[in-house]
Assembly symmetry: D2
């Protein structure tokens, strides 16, 4: 059972709810996440009269029965979709499809700045790029580290694109907090709980990738760690799960998109580059992701994929990315959305005219 407080209700009211529950012997916790404050009750043995009293306390919006292992992430608790706003131009979860693009690893100034310019010109709204790389092999290139972050900042300065980059440790988060616009938590770190808590406490937008063998429920439980620490700015990213099939690097689980859109209010992105591991399948899977309701894409682009130090096989060249963006816009419009900002009524109308009866989530 959870008690959902009214938006803007002062914390003192939630604490009063908790105090009443404790007096009656129930184990309760107050959780806040942005606009939401809830009181979570561990005991399920609340009697009818107790429920009635609770619902009349100041600030209480409603009581929600919940055996779900995640609460703040649940669409039961918050029916309207969350829009994560990084900058005025970079919002995820609304009508606009957000495309984040860039190389797997930052390699040098020429590479990152040129790639950033190319993806911005094709319509990407943020730059991805790894400075600290979690690599399976201790003998593989582990990223440029601090130097990589410096180059990302330079690319941001020259293009205005916000930076999305992976953080592999909560110490690192403290050190480089100011440099990063969106904290990416990678597949291998999805259950690094100290890191999730730190990302939650940071308050900064977080892009959380699904573990390659995590169930959708576990994925949401990891998001809950961030929300429960008070940070409502969470974006989820499907990036392929591990199966027996080996024609692709992973099996991109696109059905996770409608499942997630049903179960949670958080925005959902898809990474077709890691999901397939093969550049020539990226365009098809990008279109499929948009068609089934994804709020955005994370695509690997490199100024010269054949010379990329990592993940070259799954990386698009700028020209192919540009073509893809044009094709994607058509698919986006066919489901009532767009890659371009859909801020004012006019554009919205135009879109809807084209998309006619199409329904989005």
């Amino acid at each position: 059972m959870i008690v959902l407080m009214k938006p803007g209700a002062p914390l003192s009211e939630a604490r009063e709810v908790m105090r009443r529950l404790s007096q009656s012997g129930h184990d309760a916790h107050v959780l806040t996440a942005g606009q939401n404050t809830i009181v979570s009750i561990a005991s399920s043995r609340l009697r009818e009269p107790e429920l009635e009293i609770l619902s009349t306390l100041p600030g209480v919006e409603r009581l929600v029965a919940s055996n779900s292992p995640y609460k703040l992430a649940s669409r039961n608790v918050q029916p309207t979709s969350t829009i994560v706003k990084v900058t005025d131009n970079f919002r995820v979860g609304g009508d606009q499809i957000a495309v984040i693009a860039g190389p797997c690893s930052v390699e040098n100034e020429e590479q990152i700045v040129s790639t950033a310019r190319a993806v911005r010109s094709a319509g990407a709204i943020a730059l991805r790029g790894g400075a600290f790389k979690p690599r399976s092999s201790v003998y593989s290139f582990q990223g440029l580290g601090e130097e990589g972050l410096r180059l990302l900042k330079q690319a941001r300065e020259e293009t205005g694109l916000p930076i999305v980059t992976e953080v592999i440790d909560h110490e690192m988060l403290d050190l480089y907090f100011d440099d990063i616009d969106v904290i990416q938590i990678g597949s291998r770190s999805m259950q690094n709980f100290p890191l999730l808590k730190a990302a939650g406490e940071s308050g900064k937008p977080v892009l959380l990738k699904r573990g390659m063998m995590a169930t959708i429920e576990e994925f949401l439980m990891s998001a809950e760690y961030i929300l429960a620490a008070g940070n409502p700015n969470v974006m989820l990213c499907e990036r392929g799960i591990r199966t027996f099939e080996n024609a692709t690097r992973n099996t991109l689980d696109l059905s996770a998109v409608p499942v997630l859109k049903e179960k949670t209010h958080l925005p959902v992105l898809v990474d077709p580059s890691h999901g397939t591991g093969v550049a020539r399948y990226v365009a098809s899977m990008s279109k499929a992701a948009v068609a089934c309701g994804a709020d955005g894409l994370l695509i690997e682009v490199h100024i010269d994929p054949t010379r990329a130090v990592s993940d070259g096989a799954q990386t698009l060249a700028p020209k192919d990315f540009e073509t893809l963006m044009v094709e994607l816009e058509l698919v986006a419009q066919s489901v009532g959305r767009s890659l371009r900002p859909v801020a004012d009524g006019a554009t919205q109308c135009e879109l809807q005219e084209q998309a006619l009866t199409a329904t989005s989530w």
Copy 2:
């Protein structure tokens, strides 16, 4: 190594190629599948001069190096996409997206005829329905059998829709050969080799579903059994693979669509009903399938899903199917295709105008 004969080359020419190879101690076989005739050579120790002689023999088109476990199914052997033509109105593999719909099981006259009318009116071009059901439990409803086939034929008579129905045994294929328009071979039978051979010998269009545990390569190797028996009319159908995720009944492997379109010339369909097992995810995944290049869809529709004897949870009501078809047409057009016949140049042009730069396979 395989020797590809010219289209229309008499079999005697292929036999002459084989005779020459046998003389030189090589193990060779002649295979024909519709328009294709090939001579497959097991030994890979052909010397340069032997190759030269082979390429000059009458009827030889070209020599293709092939370690692939499938040959006739390979796009290396036949670069142009196969269009399987069941009736004038039901072609799979061209610009038109083929939607096949109907109930899991045939239950009674009212149910199958009403459903057939509903799906035809919404734009489906064929009727699916099970008469002989392969069920995991010996205690589950196993289908109406012969009576079910009779009802399917009645529905065909009243609507003109061709019948797609599952065959679980090669004896059954002999018995009901004339009643069926498309032989469906189900997931559990994908490696029932006697059945595959029988389907191959029948010459009738075959819809082959991927085994829930089969790799894409094994899927194509099963298609090869049908092709090698002389039947070029094979449609492939992705229907979900088994993984650890259980929010959905299976994990629909949509990346199989671009992978298959690359590796084979055979048309590729997607079954989002079995792929997800949940009716409310079917629309999203249908759109995704079309967006990533599928040539058609297999969708479960029942006049009243709540009363279906099997698979009700994943079945659409006619009203929802109708809405989906309208939405799907928009997505199809966004990738340069249509659910409607794209026979004459005018429609094609119009479509391409709308789709602009979109590229299909």
Copy 3:
């Protein structure tokens, strides 16, 4: 709910139970399998008084609550372990560990007869060997067919070992019924329901292999098809499931052994050859299988593995098989069993005597 009839109760008594149930509006079926006769009741809305009446009817042993999708296979229905007796010397499910060995495919007289002699001399109690091979590729060796069966019979004549061989089609079962001692149903046929029914009607001992992506529950539901057709002589065989791990051909799921021994009374064998796909891991996994309670093993042995036409990499040479059998006997004794016949009490005692010294802690 199921009604378990007394052993030997005449079928008329079971039919009387069914008649009573039908009168009260319940949907019931009579099922018999060897010593068992049960009445299965689909409806779960039996009232207390009805239950009492049922339990007093002639021939009724007891009532068993069962939502299980398998009934005759369940240990709830039959608590004592089934011992399948093929010949006096070949019993599976008791204290003796049954080792069945032989080549993947029958190749020629010399190969099969020599291998049969070698495995008999090392202690195997039956000969395995494929005559009709279900092969993923239409271009692979598909077995010697009828000629292979003739050679197996010759090997049986010379060694006295019963024959275990795969049947891939129910027509084939009719044709070769008299030649085979144990019908093997392979992994790919685990859900070939017409074949399961035919094997059930045959009454002959059946070795049913688990599908490579079948759950344990589905495995038992397939066994139920055979039992429900009246054949109690079913042996189950774990042979590896398909996972993401590729250091081995499959992942041998040994925990299936204790799970199966708990859920069913049927004997459980393990095939470490297909389970690992690597000859050098076969000995370790054979010992593990015996240690965790398997009733027998199915091991690939070939007189010369390097020249085997199929599965050579996972096949033992006779010398290694001999060594393994000696080591296995030690492990078998450590868990109170033996590879040798343990017919009379004396042998059992002897075993325990040997094992005694070991218990001193």
Copy 4:
């Protein structure tokens, strides 16, 4: 290609090898791990004369061709099995099977001290127990933390058993370094690279669990992180992988034991408690693990499993653990090993006499 230095060769000699390689344009690194020092060469274009010169340099033992992504962990580099020695009584990797037992979580003094006494008296040689628990849900019990460590130390004082406990963060490792005898790195942290490096630098014995989604190769690549940081005291632990089967919590991949024993010199343990998730399957799988060559077991035992705050369903009561230990000794002896110390020749001989022809790894 790697250059293996002689044991005890001074680092300066390895650096000289590296310097020569750099001069010739090859990219080389020096790695040390306990007794091993190697020079790893990225480039594979070494010419014959260069190889000859290298092999004559002071301190060079031999040159090993290696494309393997792990080197120090490989049995090619170190053919003899590593024995990790924690205390005189707790060595893993030799003839003695090491059993580590204890509760999932430390709960209170009475619980941990009583359990420690019980497992010691049954023959366990170390105590496991979680103080900091990585939990999928933010709302689950996360362990007693520092207080838990204090209680573990008290149990160690009272029983003499060394402590094996999970560390989830490298900061935590710094804080509690002196309290812990063996650092356990859990399944979810197998690719937490900063933690692996920190564990490597600590020099303390590490028990590394396989990720539930990790291949055996990735598992060894994670061990390589610890070895490459200079810590040779690594024990590997198979604990079940995630598959489609759900009769068990995970699928215990016992074939990983012979695969690992072949590929690496590091000792291999098995955790049948997490591997199955079901207490009644733990005994069978423990015996199987020992039979196929595991060097030890990690077993969950709680003084009262029905009241355990976490993982009660997979936990043994002391009485059942005691019975298991007696049965395990029989299995251990059947493969030439023992749960008891096998220090002096006499015992070893006795054992080998019993085990006769049995071969261990």
